[in-house]
């Protein structure tokens, strides 16, 4: 295999993992604060639709990405209001968010089907970007990739090395104790939900602005759900989420190459690989760990302060 081929495969793995890792890290923060938001798929597809629409209208990828983030946050704000302040059921509300997101994104995107635009620009550092194998991989990606890496490092640092991160984890482990220590549980949860929404929106915007780059209805194709599984798979740890996302990126690439090489397997089976891999990953994880769960102890449980 030529070095060009290796470089190409590595780049494809990385870019396929980016939407997953961005969304997963956002959801991870949300879940560490004790809120399970199953609406990732809905917020992601909204980010993709609004991001693409805004980028077409404004001609700017940056504006598109920002609008995508805001759309994700907007949907997550509705979710947060319902589950945090009204103590509505988190699983059902998250599902509602996904249904709402897929409908709204279709409405917003209907005027933009079939349009194309240039994908986001790539970094180019003379010399470095031209290195064999790692040149384009490390020094020639688009801004989303670098943002994703920074996001993972930033969240890891925030959760383990800052006081605010410690407080957020306390809220997710035992909201009653945190409350009695004077921590504003519901406000912190709401902010965490907004962060998760923003990340999901950004992940969606990456899909329609850089990865494909066009809008088509349902283009997230379950990536939001895979991101949710990644959070579990990663035991709620950011760097592990990145590693998991790269594994899934690898599965995607395998699928693309097998399809291109027409290896005689049905295309539908290859398309099913990421979904089957998700189930397999969850099973393997549970076999390794046994029943002992590392999930935040208060995950999914609404907090209603005593007065």
């Amino acid at each position: 295999m030529s070095s060009q081929m290796i470089e190409l495969i590595l780049i494809t793995i990385l870019t396929a993992s980016i939407p997953l890792v961005i969304a997963a890290v956002g959801e991870l923060v949300c879940e560490r604060a004790g809120v399970l938001n199953l609406g990732v798929e809905g917020m992601m597809i909204m980010g993709a639709a609004t991001g693409f629409a805004a980028a077409i209208q404004s001609g700017s990828t940056t504006v598109g990405a920002l609008v995508g983030i805001l759309a994700g946050m907007g949907l997550s704000a509705v979710f947060g209001l319902l589950v945090i302040f009204l103590a509505a059921n988190q699983v059902a509300t998250g599902l509602a968010l996904t249904i709402l997101g897929s409908g709204l994104s279709g409405l917003i995107g209907s005027g933009f089907v079939g349009l194309k635009r240039e994908s986001a620009g790539h970094l180019h550092i003379p010399g470095l970007s031209d290195l064999p194998i790692v040149g384009r991989l490390i020094f020639g990606e688009d801004p989303f990739v670098y943002a994703a890496v920074a996001l993972v490092c930033g969240v890891a640092f925030f959760l383990t090395r800052t006081r605010a991160g410690l407080t957020l984890r306390a809220v997710g482990e035992n909201h009653t104790s945190a409350h009695s220590l004077g921590v504003p549980v519901r406000r912190i949860r709401f902010l965490a939900v907004l962060f998760g929404g923003g990340c999901a929106g950004l992940a969606g915007a990456y899909l329609s602005l850089s990865y494909t780059p066009f809008w088509s209805p349902g283009m997230t194709a379950g990536r939001g759900w895979i991101a949710l599984a990644l959070v579990v798979f990663a035991s709620w740890k950011p760097f592990r989420a990145f590693a998991g996302a790269l594994l899934f990126g690898g599965a995607t690439v395998l699928q693309l190459h097998a399809q291109a090489a027409s290896v005689g397997l049905p295309g539908q089976l290859l398309t099913a690989v990421p979904y089957l891999a998700t189930i397999a990953a969850l099973v393997v994880l549970s076999l390794r760990k046994g029943r002992g769960s590392v999930a935040p102890a208060a995950l999914g449980i609404p907090f209603i302060p005593e007065r």
Binding site: L100, P217, V232, I279, I304
Partner: protein
């Protein structure tokens, strides 16, 4: 400003009956705003969505035909949701049911296997195959949850994609009609492999009756049997249920079997009653809409029946609105999401008094 929730000491039946109606009204108002933002008339949209389908006999029948799968699936799901288990893969179990029933119809096409036994066994065999396929497919997430502690939410959802791809693969491959000019569809089912229609030349098929029967059975099981008591108890007081010696594992398998079987049965009714052949996709998202139906009906059998009719009405209305008002079909989907959110919020209001307190906390 802060929001306080104060638990109600007694549950008000009036409030619980009114809550879904209030949620529906608010969802319609929000939907109206979205329609206005799209530059269309909200009043006309309301009429097209909710009034016009009720005005003609054929569209009334259409409402019933589309409500049948929703009600059947939602009845099954209500057992799961009551036991606080989240089977959100009913769409996949529906597809597998339709596929299995469809295979029976295709295998017996043109009289194969009928010389010895006649043909009256074919429809019952289809219904049985579809139900069993739905049960089997739902057993995967149930087993993984009980034995390995894997989240049933994620596995059941992932299996939806797998089921859809399986159907797509088979209909484009082994199950394709050899004389179908290469169209990706199976042979049209024989008349003996179609669910009987209630009236000659009309649209109502046997699936509608099955949906109604499921409502009655669910009412009896939930209200009058020990198993129904078990399901209700686990939902409202999980610890008490455990102390009382109810087995989590057995309950999990049971409610997943019920919901999977109901979804599978709905799937085979759809292909054997409505479509009449296998196609690459056989569901416009019934399995997901049924989740909304279950909650809008407050997990009560009769409530689910009415909720199914309402959601079906909005789906038919949505098809009308696409033609007469050029409103995209996604409007229906968005409305359903809004509706589910309103229902969940209204549910909170029946359990808590919400107080908005202005100023800093005391």
């Amino acid at each position: 400003m802060r929001i306080d929730l104060e638990a109600r000491t007694s549950r008000s039946t009036t409030l619980e009956l009114l809550a879904p109606f209030a949620a529906f009204v608010i969802a319609v108002l929000i939907g109206g705003i979205v329609v206005a933002l799209l530059g269309k008339s909200p009043l006309q949209a309301f009429s097209v969505y909710f009034i016009e389908p009720l005005s003609e006999s054929w569209s009334l029948q259409e409402v019933a035909v589309k409500a049948a799968p929703l009600v059947l699936i939602a009845i099954g799901l209500s057992f799961c949701f009551r036991a606080i288990l989240w089977n959100i893969g009913a769409e996949g179990q529906f597809v597998m049911g339709g596929l299995a029933g469809g295979i029976v119809a295709i295998v017996t096409h043109n009289g194969a296997g009928q010389s010895l036994l006649g043909s009256s066994w074919i429809v019952p065999a289809m219904l049985l195959a579809g139900t069993l396929a739905g049960v089997a497919y739902a057993m995967i997430p149930a087993y993984l949850r009980v034995k390995l502690g894997v989240s049933e939410i994620l596995t059941s959802l992932m299996l939806v994609y797998v089921a859809e791809l399986t159907l797509d693969y088979l209909v484009r491959g082994k199950l394709r009609d050899p004389n179908g000019y290469n169209f990706p569809q199976s042979v049209p089912f024989d008349d003996v492999a179609r669910l009987p229609f209630l009236m000659e030349g009309e649209r109502l098929h046997g699936g509608v009756v099955l949906a109604l029967i499921s409502v009655v059975i669910a009412g009896i099981v939930l209200g009058r049997t020990l198993f129904g008591f078990d399901v209700r108890l686990v939902g409202s007081a999980p610890k008490a249920a455990r102390f009382a010696g109810f087995s989590d594992a057995r309950l999990t398998f049971a409610v997943f079997a019920i919901s999977g079987g109901a979804a599978g049965l709905a799937g085979v009714c759809e292909v054997g009653g409505q479509i009449g052949q296998l196609q690459p996709t056989i569901s416009p998202g019934y399995g997901f809409s049924a989740i909304i139906v279950a909650f809008l009906g407050r997990l009560q059998p009769v409530g689910i029946l009415f909720a199914g009719l309402v959601l079906s009405l909005s789906t038919i209305g949505g098809e009308g609105a696409q033609i007469s008002m050029k409103l995209p079909l996604d409007m229906t989907r968005a409305f359903q999401g809004i509706l589910l959110m309103c229902v969940l919020a209204a549910d909170v209001l029946t359990r808590y008094r919400v107080k908005i307190v202005f100023g800093r906390r005391a």
